[in-house]
């Protein structure tokens, strides 16, 4: 690691050279920032990874089974495992997707699973992201640049190569392709993750397209190439469900493709990830994922959820209201680190206000024990400091489910803060998975 530390300036210059940025809107203005990178990687041993890998595959397979069930037979509701309220009242549930069977039955092709490692050494799943999880491009390019900047580091440490993410993505797209080209569909240059969209298009050999470059005719999706319209067989959309198709979802969407859902429903194009996946990564549904694993796979969950309570259930509600100062309360409708309230940080008035809201809208919240997750060292000047960090693991599903042997480790910039989101000032690290 000394080599990486010694070359941190060079690495950061290289990241700047390659435009490794993310966008942020502040006061309605778009700003692009370099994503702060810390050269000290998170290191995961081969043995630890072996468990994580199995657990992540298990979890994503169960989530895919759940999505197929929810938009199909709904057996998990009929059998009383998941209350229907948590499905039909979820903002991620889209009735427009009822009955659609995507190619290979895969709904979540690129899953971003957020984990933290407790100080007791146990990994906990914090959140599943099955809509448009972003972040793979950052450790992907950082690794490439770090290898160039400190050859000895990678000669002396047996780290699994992570530079095949583009191939894994292409594999997932090809597996479900209905005949035609692969497209990465971006809302455009001023999207926060535009760097990632364009970089993944390059690495997966896909075409990067905006809505005006795509159209639906005779229930097929086409790309307006200068050399004639090209049929699109799979589209990796980096745009939220509600903006995808103005004729099906938000009518005012200017960044969607009219009739895309018809083409999808007809089986003429694969959409990665499938619209409607939000029902499975809803913070309320998170509670039920271990139950899904047992229900669909008849297996015991390998990875643990953070201890979670649902105020929807009377016993849980009582516990939450009595122990709010020890819990973190999450609004299920929020994302990106927003809507997360630590009970011990709230004033008595705010606490009472929150209690009243929970009583009025119990379905809207979940409560979790605060996990004292491990701090990772960060370089600051010539010294190291410790900050909270999580891990987003990427699981790709096509003909089989694979875990990318790497991931995005995000850290908080502020001491004592548990919020690691880049939109809130956090940075990132490479994630090393040791090969032995």
């Amino acid at each position: 690691m000394k080599g990486l530390v010694a070359n941190v300036g060079t690495i950061n210059k290289q990241l700047a050279r390659y435009g490794v940025k993310f966008g942020i809107y502040k006061n309605n203005e778009f700003h692009e920032r370099l994503f702060p990178f810390d050269p000290l990687p998170r290191v995961i041993t081969a043995a630890e990874w072996s468990v994580l890998e199995k657990g992540l595959i298990q979890r994503v397979d169960a989530l895919n089974a759940f999505l197929g069930d929810i938009y199909g037979e709904k057996n998990i509701i009929k059998d009383g495992i998941v209350p229907e309220d948590f499905v039909y009242l979820s903002s991620g549930y889209l009735p427009q997707c009822e009955g659609i069977k995507p190619p290979l039955g895969v709904f979540s092709h690129i899953s971003g699973i957020d984990l933290v490692k407790g100080k007791n050494g146990t990994w906990y799943i914090l959140e599943d992201n099955l809509r448009v999880p972003s972040g793979a491009s950052y450790p992907l390019i950082a690794r490439d640049l770090c290898r160039k900047c400190s050859v000895d580091t990678f000669k002396n440490n047996k780290v699994k190569d992570n530079r095949d993410y583009g191939d894994l993505l292409k594999g997932a797209m090809d597996a479900v392709n209905t005949g035609g080209i692969n497209v990465i569909f971006t809302p455009g240059r001023y999207n926060a993750a535009y760097f990632e969209h364009s970089y993944l298009a390059e690495k997966s050999g896909s075409v990067l397209a905006e809505s005006q470059e795509l159209f639906v005719e005779d229930n097929c999706l086409y790309y307006r190439s200068l050399e004639g319209n090209l049929k699109v067989g799979s589209v990796y959309r980096r745009i939220s469900d509600e903006y995808l198709d103005p004729l099906c979802f938000l009518q005012e969407s200017l960044i969607g493709i009219p009739n895309l859902m018809s083409a999808y429903r007809a089986g003429n194009v694969a959409i990665l990830n499938a619209p409607g996946n939000g029902v499975a990564d809803d913070k309320g549904i998170y509670y039920f994922v271990p139950k899904m694993i047992e229900y669909y796979l008849q297996e015991k969950p390998i990875l643990s959820n953070a201890p979670t309570y649902l105020p929807f259930y009377e016993a849980d509600q009582k516990y939450v209201l009595e122990n709010m100062d020890k819990l973190v309360i999450k609004d299920v409708a929020e994302a990106g680190g927003y809507g997360v309230l630590f009970g011990n940080e709230l004033s008595p008035e705010k606490l009472e206000e929150l209690k009243a809201t929970i009583l009025a809208e119990p379905r809207r919240f979940i409560a979790q024990e605060v996990i004292d997750f491990e701090d990772l060292p960060l370089l600051e000047g010539d010294t190291t400091i410790e900050r909270k960090a999580d891990l987003r693991a990427f699981v790709l599903s096509g003909t089989e489910t694979k875990v990318w042997p790497s991931g995005l480790t995000r850290f908080s910039r502020n001491p004592d803060s548990f919020i690691v989101n880049s939109s809130q000032g956090g940075g990132f690290k490479d994630t090393w998975v040791l090969s032995r």
Partner: protein, 224 residues
């Protein structure tokens, strides 16, 4: 994957224009510095009019200080560089990250030069990065038409500077020939009437070029 849309083709053309504009503009600053050193009598307003920017500079020194680096100044070199990078960024999958990195480096070199006391020397890095960009796309962009679309943009921009800055008619004819050669290989939509004018100019031997008319014909040759 080399399939491109009309929108991307337009961006390729403008990428070529802006990259060349940055390159030519650095040359213009060098020219101004030369004139200052040689203590020539400089009409700064006339000079600005020649390069097509607002005559808002107090002096040649003010021009050399602000024209390259002032983002609030419409038509400054750094604004052209930002536009160049902006067009490049949406073409990453066609150009490749390596080629695109030279555009980012051009912008970074300009920003660094703005902080230097010897900016004339530092601006050399800008030229180097643009040259590296040219070499990189020539080497790594697979499709002939894609490469030549960028080059068409560059030729239009270069011709504009040459015509405005008193290049000889022979030099202008040579550049026009180059432009038409690139046009043939680009597949860009073009205006037949303008093309006929430029073709006739190339083959004519008369030495009475109407420079403003030629600029206008070159500028409106492409329908982008």
């Amino acid at each position: 994957m080399g399939a491109i849309t009309l929108n991307k083709n337009n961006r390729l053309f403008w990428l070529g224009r802006y990259a060349e504009r940055v390159y030519q503009s650095v040359g213009i600053v060098a020219k101004m510095q030369d004139m200052m050193l040689d203590e020539e009598d400089i009409d700064i307003d006339a000079f600005c009019s020649k390069i097509g920017i607002a005559a808002i500079f107090d002096s040649p020194e003010d021009f050399c200080k602000r024209y390259p680096f002032d983002r609030s100044l419409q038509g400054s070199i750094i604004c052209a560089a930002d536009d160049m990078l902006g067009n490049g960024m949406v073409l990453r999958e066609l150009l490749g990250s390596l080629t695109l990195s030279y555009l980012q480096m051009t912008v970074s070199a300009l920003e660094l030069a703005s902080k230097s006391k010897s900016c004339a020397v530092e601006l050399q890095w800008v030229l180097d990065d643009i040259m590296a960009f040219r070499g990189s796309y020539a080497e790594f962009v697979e499709k002939t038409s894609t490469r030549n679309t960028i080059r068409c943009g560059a030729s239009v921009e270069r011709l504009g500077t040459m015509i405005r800055f008193d290049a000889t008619e022979l030099e202008i004819r040579k550049e026009c020939k180059k432009l038409l050669h690139r046009l043939e290989r680009s597949g860009l939509d073009h205006d037949a009437e303008q093309l006929a004018y430029i073709t006739e100019f190339i083959s004519s031997e008369e030495e009475n070029l109407n420079r403003f008319e030629l600029i206008s014909k070159v500028e409106s040759l492409f329908q982008v």
